[in-house]
């Protein structure tokens, strides 16, 4: 079973993403701050990270950069999820190394599709 780490500080958003991914058969790890998320990524080396932008302690862009700079973690695909939809924000995310940027509110099916896609799983 593949592990997915969700780093998200809004409780309900975390719950929604968690529910939908568990439904699709993934094992879920959660973190609610930037630093906690980064530590979790380093120690558990998940198969994929879902990362919010606005987070306490350390923002999503920084967490993304750190994960992508670590030799042990840089292979982990990162999907960023945020209410921010300005082109600058999206560009910052991709510059930080994000594999995909999805704006909130997001379509649940689309999220699952992206996750599968980045895990290299077959899709019909």
């Amino acid at each position: 079973m593949k592990n997915i780490l969700i780093i998200e500080d809004v409780e309900d958003h975390l719950e929604i993403v968690k529910l939908i991914l568990e439904q699709n058969g993934y094992n879920i790890l959660v973190a609610t701050t930037g630093t906690e998320g980064l530590n979790c990524a380093r120690t558990n080396s998940p198969d994929l990270v879902i990362l919010d932008v606005v987070l306490p302690e350390m923002n999503g862009y920084e967490v993304c950069k750190e994960i992508k700079n670590g030799t042990d973690t840089k292979h982990i695909p990162i999907i960023m999820l945020s209410v921010r939809s300005n082109p600058e924000d999206i560009e910052t995310a991709y510059k930080a190394g994000a594999n995909k940027y999805i704006t909130k509110p997001f379509n649940l099916e689309d999220l699952v599709k992206e996750v599968k896609n980045h895990l290299g799983e077959e899709q019909k």
């Binding site: 958003h13 929604i16 209410v83 939809s85 509110p105």
Partner: protein, 351 residues
């Protein structure tokens, strides 16, 4: 009296009282002097005429000389008075001019400051709208997320009634999201930062992508969306996301303000230095006098129709900003009760 009245008016308008008053006062004094001298001279001439008849010639010669001298000096006086007046007036005009220039430059400075403040206010408003839109999206993500989970029965079975309610919640939630996105676009367009990303793309593809968004609404009213494209146009260099957004807005209006069972026609035309794209409907049309308002944000001429099919009155203002952002032009031709044609241009650019 009338000049006085005018004078007062001028004073109010320009605040130049001291100069004006001075000039008028002088003129009066001069008139007065002239009249007095005229009386005196006439008197002397009269006296001389009397003397001329009763005295000898030599004395008359002396007297005539004196009179001529007197008259000459009087003329000299008048002349110098007038020169003085001209010099004075000239001087006053120069001062007036200087004063005016000073005032103009001061007012220009003031206006520049006001303009700066206005732009700052506009920026603050745009920032506010943008931040607000983002703040609104956070709770909306929760609402829409749980609605999806519930309606997919991932939290248990549902009865017919509950399914219907959830559907309505989903639709309204999505309408709200659409509104927030439009507000965001509006704030961006006001801040002049609608990102334009141009690339080579098939215009017909852009059109069919736009119609997909409207098909559901059109099918409900049994309205056919027809495309008449100019064969000479294939791929063009432009921001296709933005063009799609423009088309979706125009098409949704066309369908919204048309009767059931009608046609909406999208046509393209190659016109030398630009491409013309038109959306034509045979709906309710727009009064000639109202045409100038429709591109203003939040302007709705038929609020009941807009409310029935959803609308905020900012669609066209966004369309206008979008078109102008890439250097195009938008125009509208409409007749009440007959229908409307909205057209916009896409300038041809070399890749």
């Amino acid at each position: 009296m009338r000049t006085n009245g005018e004078n007062c008016y001028l004073v109010k308008k320009t605040g130049l009282r001291p100069f004006k008053r001075c000039m008028y006062c002088d003129k009066n004094v001069q008139d007065c002097f002239g009249f007095q001298f005229f009386v005196v001279v006439m008197g002397i001439i009269g006296l001389l005429l009397v003397m001329f008849t009763i005295r000898d010639l030599p004395i008359l010669a002396i007297e005539i000389t004196i009179i001529i001298l007197l008259m000459l000096s009087f003329l000299g006086y008048i002349a110098s008075k007038e020169t003085n007046e001209i010099v004075l007036t000239n001087h006053l005009l120069k001062e007036l001019n200087f004063e005016l220039e000073k005032r103009v430059s001061q007012r220009t400075k003031e206006l520049k400051l006001v303009n700066f403040d206005l732009q700052k206010a506009l920026r603050i408003k745009s920032d506010f709208l943008r931040n607000m839109s983002h703040e609104l999206k956070t709770p909306l993500t929760t609402v829409l997320g749980y609605i999806s989970i519930l309606s997919e029965k991932q939290a248990g079975d549902l009865n017919e009634k509950q399914i219907k309610m959830l559907e309505s919640m989903k639709k309204n939630g999505n309408d709200l999201l659409h509104l927030i996105n439009q507000l965001l676009d509006l704030s961006k367009s006001e801040a002049g930062s609608l990102g334009i990303e141009e690339k080579e793309y098939d215009l017909n593809k852009t059109i069919s992508e736009a119609t997909v968004n409207i098909e559901y609404m059109a099918s409900k009213k049994n309205i056919s969306l027809l495309v008449q494209s100019d064969e000479r146009i294939s791929s063009i260099f432009a921001d296709h996301e933005r063009i799609k957004q423009i088309l979706v807005n125009l098409l949704s209006n066309a369908v919204k303000f048309s009767d059931n069972n009608s046609d909406v026609i999208i046509s393209t035309k190659d016109e030398k230095d630009h491409i013309l794209v038109s959306v034509k409907d045979s709906g309710i049309g727009i009064d000639r006098g109202d045409l100038k308002y429709i591109f203003e944000p939040f302007k709705q001429l038929a609020p009941e129709i807009s409310a029935k099919y959803g609308g905020t009155g900012i669609g066209l203002s966004i369309v206008k900003s979008l078109v102008e952002a890439y250097g195009g032009k938008i125009s509208v031709d409409s007749h009440t009760g007959k229908g409307s044609v909205f057209s916009f241009t896409i300038p041809k650019k070399k890749v």
